[in-house]
């Protein structure tokens, strides 16, 4: 499907949703609409609460030569990453939206029982012998990023369509720590903690929840200064490969779908 073919149905869907919300607004009367315009507070910032199933691409490390220690230990199931992001909508571009810097941080952890040391090896890879010990092993990742955020909210601001597409691009990094029951893992003089740098990219679509209760939204704005509340879905790519700077990064980056709430204020 070409982009043009994709856009047309999306706009159609938006119009259908908009029609419903417009009908609700009419019920509240024109006076409320005017009231809304007069009491809209300044909008400069946004904050996000983020939740995403995350699976790092650690096993893609070329030095592993096909071994999959992460999958062997923790399995293939993702863990949920919890995060937050703060954006400064520094510049408003007329008929487009806002652009500005944003920073975010998250945390995700993988934990499992450590297998007993195995004398077996398959193809040069350590293979678990099946017996698990009473010791826990974990890998905790704290992704962080600093990105430029473009939010195309003109569609909402000027046409009332409650969808706001956006994109983010910038620098990504992650602190990580491999632990066991006794603390940070160590092996052959190498300590299992560090950080990896790379790039952060995301593209997503926000849905403005104000359309469900315009009156409450206005009160929220008047009382707390929150202009809009969004529900968003985002495709996130943390490409933490060392950025050609780190020689031996632990590839804790990954792609994921992120969902969350966003408040503009």
């Amino acid at each position: 499907m070409t982009p043009r073919r994709f856009v047309a149905p999306a706009i159609g869907l938006a119009c259908v949703l908009l029609a419903g919300s417009s009908r609700a607004q009419e019920d509240r009367g024109e006076s409320l609409s005017a009231h809304h315009k007069s009491y809209e507070s300044p909008q400069n910032f946004a904050i996000e609460i983020r939740l995403s199933p995350y699976l790092p691409g650690v096993d893609s490390d070329p030095s592993l030569h096909g071994c999959t220690p992460f999958t062997d230990i923790f399995g293939k199931s993702p863990s949920f990453m919890v995060g937050a992001e703060f954006d400064w909508q520094a510049v408003r571009i007329k008929h487009l939206g806002t652009i500005g810097p944003g920073v975010g941080i998250g945390t995700v952890s993988f934990s499992a029982a450590a297998p007993n040391t195995s004398a077996n090896a398959t193809g040069g890879c350590i293979s678990a012998n099946g017996s698990l010990s009473g010791e826990q092993t974990s890998l905790t990742i704290y992704p962080m990023y600093a990105v430029a955020v473009l939010r195309a909210d003109a569609l909402w601001k000027e046409a009332g369509v409650p969808f706001v597409p956006y994109a983010k691009l910038g620098y990504g990094s992650a602190f990580w720590q491999a632990s066991n029951t006794l603390g940070t893992s160590k092996y052959a003089g190498s300590v299992g903690q560090g950080y990896t740098i790379g790039t952060a990219f995301a593209i997503g679509l926000s849905f403005n929840l104000n359309v469900f209760d315009d009156y409450a939204a206005r009160n929220f704005d008047e009382g707390m200064g929150v202009n809009s509340t969004y529900l968003f879905a985002e495709w996130t790519d943390l490409n933490l490969n060392g950025l050609w700077v780190q020689s031996d990064p632990l590839r804790v980056g990954g792609t994921s779908w992120t969902f969350g709430l966003d408040w503009e204020f």
């Binding site: 030095s63 220690p69 450590a114 040391t117 009473g134 010791e135 029951t181 990896t196 050609w244 632990l250």
Partner: protein, 548 residues
């Protein structure tokens, strides 16, 4: 009469060393009475007594297992075995009575019928000899001394005659007072200081004090299991049930950490090799012959002793059978443990194990191996390790001994489930048994505190990780329950396991060839470019800020 007056005066003089320490009490005394007379007994301070051990030392509230909230208004099993000496400073005035008597009971002992009534059951028992007669004209402070065993003895309340036994607490019968309670619930016994006339009828106002007593410890945790880790063992267990005053658990390990590299138990795992060897105690007691002989001796004693007393609670590490101890060497606990281990002696005291030479231990510890195969194995509670191997700990499962001393303990954190096995810092036998842990309600008599690996003050806890252990060395682990009165229950069925090396994620990654090394920057082809880019951006920003 003059003689009795002199005795009372002496008693007062002896007791003048008392100094109120002002510690908190859990409850206050109440006055009761009802007879005629102007006599009155009251406590001048809200903290009416102090508690002394048999050796005259004051109860150590810091190292004694009694919880602080009892302080020390309650008597637990250990208090009873130590025959706590209770001194009450009381102010007496009025002086129409002939003398003062001290009684105890769960009913109102100021009612004469409950003490001396004719033809009715006496529900109170006298706990101290009479004081007086009293001829002073002004209020006087008296310091009656009573003993815990006298209060706790429950002198057959259904009898119509309650003969006072002035030396009960220190007699051979004295320790029996520590076993009179059969349920785990706390029992409140009221101690009455009663002015009585020459006909032994109460007069004036008596002073009473409620002594909370709890002599029964909660049962042992169930289904204790061990799973190995790298220099650690994870112990899990199930709660012993809905014990009303369960507050936590204590975990003991043999050998204790802190330098022991051998000991505990050694296991022969080769089926049919006849290599069932074991040793008891830590590295200091790895002399196998001594350990084995102690087990055998304890077993023999346990088989002949009616009450199963095998250890000396007063700190004699060399004497196992001391008639004065008579503490709760359970009638059921040891056979139970042996049963669960699948090793029961026959009538001749033999157990179903090979009495081989003790070589061939698969543990690699090379520790003390001994020749076994007799009754000694019963009392040492050998643990069937599978494959014909056995494991045992003399210190944790047999006639343990109490060594007075101080121990540095690390309390387990239930949230992190990690505990560091403490290292014994000293062994001071001169302080009596304060440092020991006397087990109540069955099981072995006591465990040297140096074997205490951790304590969890959380009754919902079900696991803990013992760290700082040695891979390849067998550890025997037992868990006990602790109640709110500080009673430490019988040990669980012992389990034995070796810590083993593990492959955690980082180790697996590295073994698989992973080259990540943490924080190091550099080495990458883009490093100079990246650094130049950062520098250029910083310079541009600085330049822009300087503009007016």
């Amino acid at each position: 009469m003059p003689r009795r007056r002199l005795l009372f005066a002496c008693a007062c003089l002896v007791a003048t060393t008392f100094a109120p320490d002002g510690r908190a009490q859990t409850s206050s005394g109440s006055s009761s009475g009802g007879s005629t007379g102007t006599d009155s007994i009251n406590s001048p301070i809200p903290n009416p007594y102090r508690a002394l051990l048999e050796n005259g030392l004051e109860v150590d509230q810091t190292n004694n297992p009694r919880p602080q909230n009892l302080n020390p208004t309650g008597c637990n099993y250990l208090d009873c075995t130590q025959d706590l000496q209770l001194t009450f400073p009381l102010v007496y005035s009025g002086f129409s009575a002939d003398h003062i008597e001290v009684w105890a009971g769960t009913v109102d002992c100021t009612q004469d019928n409950n003490r001396t009534g004719t033809g009715v059951p006496h529900l109170c028992w006298q706990v101290s000899g009479s004081t007086g007669p009293l001829y002073a004209t002004a209020a006087v402070t008296i310091y009656p001394v009573i003993y815990a065993r006298d209060v706790l003895r429950y002198e057959n309340p259904g009898l119509t005659v309650q003969p006072y036994q002035p030396s009960f607490h220190s007699s051979s019968e004295g320790p029996s007072a520590c076993r009179v309670q059969t349920s785990d619930a706390e029992v409140d016994i009221t101690v009455y200081f009663i002015p009585v006339n020459s006909s032994y009828a109460a007069v004036g106002t008596a002073y009473s004090w409620v002594l909370h007593s709890d002599l029964v410890a909660p049962p042992a945790p169930l289904n204790v299991t061990l799973s190995p880790g790298d220099t650690l063992l994870k112990a899990t267990w199930e709660s012993p049930g809905n014990d009303p005053d369960l507050v936590g658990f204590a975990i003991y390990a043999d050998p204790p950490a802190g330098g022991a590299t051998t000991g505990g138990c050694s296991c022969g795992n080769a089926p049919g090799s006849g290599a069932n060897s074991y040793a008891g105690g830590d590295a200091s007691s790895v002399e196998s012959d001594a350990a084995v002989s102690r087990c055998m001796e304890a077993a023999a004693e346990g088989a002949t002793s009616e009450d199963g007393a095998v250890a000396d609670a007063e700190g004699d590490t060399s004497t196992l059978a001391d008639s004065d101890l008579d503490v709760a060497m359970s009638e059921a606990s040891l056979p139970e443990a042996s049963t669960e281990a699948g090793v029961m002696p026959d009538s001749g005291g033999k157990v179903g194990v090979d009495s081989g030479s003790g070589s061939g231990s698969s543990s690699g510890s090379g520790s003390s191996s001994g020749t076994v195969g007799d009754a000694g194995m019963m009392n040492c509670n050998p643990i069937n390790m599978g494959g014909g191997g056995l494991c045992a700990s003399f210190a944790l499962t047999s006639g343990g001994f109490t060594i007075g001393g101080t121990t540095t303990t690390t309390t387990g954190d239930a949230s992190s489930d990690v505990a560091i096995i403490p290292v014994t810092t000293g062994d001071d036998s001169s302080t009596g048994a304060e440092g020991g842990v006397t087990l109540a309600g069955g099981g072995i008599a006591s465990i040297d505190p140096k074997y205490k690996a951790a304590e969890i003050d959380d009754k919902t806890a079900t696991q803990i990780t013992l760290t700082g252990l040695t891979n390849g060395l067998n550890y025997v682990v037992v868990v006990t329950s602790i109640d709110g009165s500080g009673n430490v229950g019988p040990v669980s069925t012992p389990t034995c396991l070796q810590p083993e090396p593990t492959d955690d994620y980082w180790k697996t990654y590295k073994k698989d060839g992973g080259t990540a090394s943490g924080c190091a920057l550099g080495g990458g082809t883009g490093a100079p470019v990246f650094a130049m880019g950062i520098a250029a951006a910083a310079a541009a920003l600085a330049r822009r800020r300087r503009r007016p």
